[in-house]
């Protein structure tokens, strides 16, 4: 039984695009498939569609659960549903697995039509711009000319921002949460450590591990452990784990002594059991490359001059990965362009991951903003 405000049982759908897609890198895909889910009903005017963009490890499975897997709740199930902040009685909500993903959309695990083998390392690097271009094909397919809103946290927020730049006429509201206009050197540095962990795993085989029937599990584990540290705040980690010992005493070994070690290992193992290493590499590069101001001499205000959407920008006080200051960069660039923007800086102790939690005030803000969107 689904709780009353759940979208309930959902099923992913798949769409195939046969037109080639030119990528930012210069490479092209001959065609591609995207898997997606939808919740709620598209209204007759097609004016109530909201696209939810996922971050590094997310997927098209945003809300609800599968009939054969009731425990597998969508990653933003606390936000999306009938009566929830992103209310599926009002909005038609779309979740999509991005191009290059490992949840069913065309990506490194797919068969390369040219070689009849898995792409592996041959899958071209795709960028946030490419994701958005692919998402636009999905919008066309669904008959959505203009999104009422595009919403995302972290890397998802970058896609919402990119939508406002690449398709200014096709997005009325951009909801950019716990995001940044570009990565800092420190952000890139963490990504590089994660990549090196994967690439230096003997099971990586230059990205062709599938051909060898192996997975670079230990590299992926390490990558996730490093990443996970940046998602949490120091204070939250301190509260949750402190220096608590696993066995109540120092073991003088390299096995788990402290609870935080156990937690990171658990998170790493869990992630490495289902996520694809090439997708991880590619996604971190997409993060690194994202910089709308790149072609505007670093001038973000000039880069955002194309945008026409209204914005909600939100950050979290303890997020040190994409700190509030990074969100303010976006806000002031929007102000420069006289665009409508609401900016909220939310007190939440959970660091970068706060955007996934159902903090009452945070959800109240999103609900209030979404309620005012005309459909």
């Amino acid at each position: 039984m689904s709780p009353e405000n759940s979208v309930g049982v959902v099923a992913p759908r798949r769409v195939c695009f046969i037109e080639p897609l030119q990528l930012t890198s210069g490479a092209a895909l001959p065609g591609f498939e995207l898997v997606f889910e939808t919740y709620g009903m598209l209204n007759a005017q097609c004016s109530n569609a909201v696209l939810v963009c996922h971050a590094l490890s997310g997927s098209h499975h945003v809300a609800g659960h599968y009939a054969d897997d009731p425990e597998n709740l969508g990653w933003w199930d606390n936000l999306v549903g009938p009566g929830k902040a992103l209310d599926t009685r009002k909005f038609f909500v779309v979740g999509v697995n991005n191009l290059g993903g490992c949840y069913g959309s065309t990506g490194p695990l797919s068969i390369n039509p040219e070689t009849a083998k898995r792409y592996g390392a041959d899958f071209p690097l795709v960028t946030v711009e490419d994701w958005v271009a692919a998402q636009a094909r999905l919008a066309d397919h669904l008959g959505i000319v203009t999104w009422a809103a595009v919403i995302g946290g972290s890397l998802g927020g970058m896609q919402a921002l990119e939508w406002s730049l690449q398709f200014p006429e096709r997005i009325r509201h951009a909801m950019v949460i716990a995001s940044a206009p570009k990565l800092s050197a420190q952000n890139i540095a963490f990504n590089e450590v994660a990549r090196q962990a994967i690439i230096s795993d003997p099971d990586f085989h230059g990205g062709y591990y599938a051909d060898h029937g192996v997975v670079p599990t230990s590299g992926l584990r390490l990558a996730r452990m490093v990443g996970h540290i940046t998602y949490l705040s120091d204070s939250q980690m301190g509260e949750k784990f402190g220096r608590r010992l696993r066995h109540g005493e120092h073991k003088f070994s390299y096995d788990v002594d402290f609870e935080i070690e156990s937690y990171l290992r658990y998170q790493g193992n869990k992630f490495a059991s289902f996520f694809d290493a090439n997708t991880y590499l590619m996604t971190t590069k997409a993060l690194d490359y994202f910089d709308p101001a790149y072609h505007f001499d670093g001038n973000l205000a000039a880069a955002l001059a194309r945008a026409k959407a209204s914005f909600l920008v939100a950050s979290f006080s303890t997020d040190w990965r994409f700190s509030p200051a990074r969100s303010r960069e976006i806000v002031f660039a929007l102000l420069h362009n006289r665009l409508r923007v609401v900016y909220a800086e939310i007190d939440c102790g959970a660091g970068h991951d706060s955007f996934l939690l159902d903090d009452e005030h945070y959800h109240a803000l999103l609900r209030a903003y979404l309620e005012n969107i005309a459909v």
Binding site: R328, L335, V341, V342, A344, I346, H361, L365
Partner: protein, 207 residues
Amino acid sequence: MTEHERRAKAEQRERFDFAVIASWIPPGERVLDLGCGDGRLLRYLSETRDVSGYGVEIDRESVLGCIRNGVDVIQMDIECGLSGFEDNSFAHVIISQALQTMRTTERILTEMLRVAAEAVVSFPNFSYRANRAAISEGHMPVSEDLPYDWFDTPNVRFFTIADFENLCARLGIEIRERLAFDEAGCEVCEDPNLNGSLAFYRLGRKS
């Protein structure tokens, strides 16, 4: 006075304040409202004068109120200055009965006239006759425009019309217009520092 009457009176008074401020904002302008609360003034200006703009607010419930009111709000601490807001990016910047709740008075005034050509400021006049009477009787004043008990007030700066004008002179701020009203909402011309309960200023940079 019942709670209902009190609220009705407060709303009436608020509308009066809004009307005074609106009279100084040309229709269609772009404004910044500092300490905007739940955005009611901006909403009023938008509805009555087709004014657009942004509010700035630190209090999270007020930010939520702004969003509910459809008012664009930037959540930040004005006490830290207005860095990020570009020079002369607004026609008017407003601070309506909020300056007395902030510590960095000089910095805020200077910043206001950096980001906008004109500033509109309103504040309760501490040296209003009734306030003086309360002090002379040995008590902190509680009045229409200073409605808080001393132990419960959000106000941190207590100043008078005369004090404010001295500070403007020191900061090179030009007073372009001043209006003062008594507690009944009647305009005061004679000795506003004594007879004015609430003061409104239109300020600019001395050329």
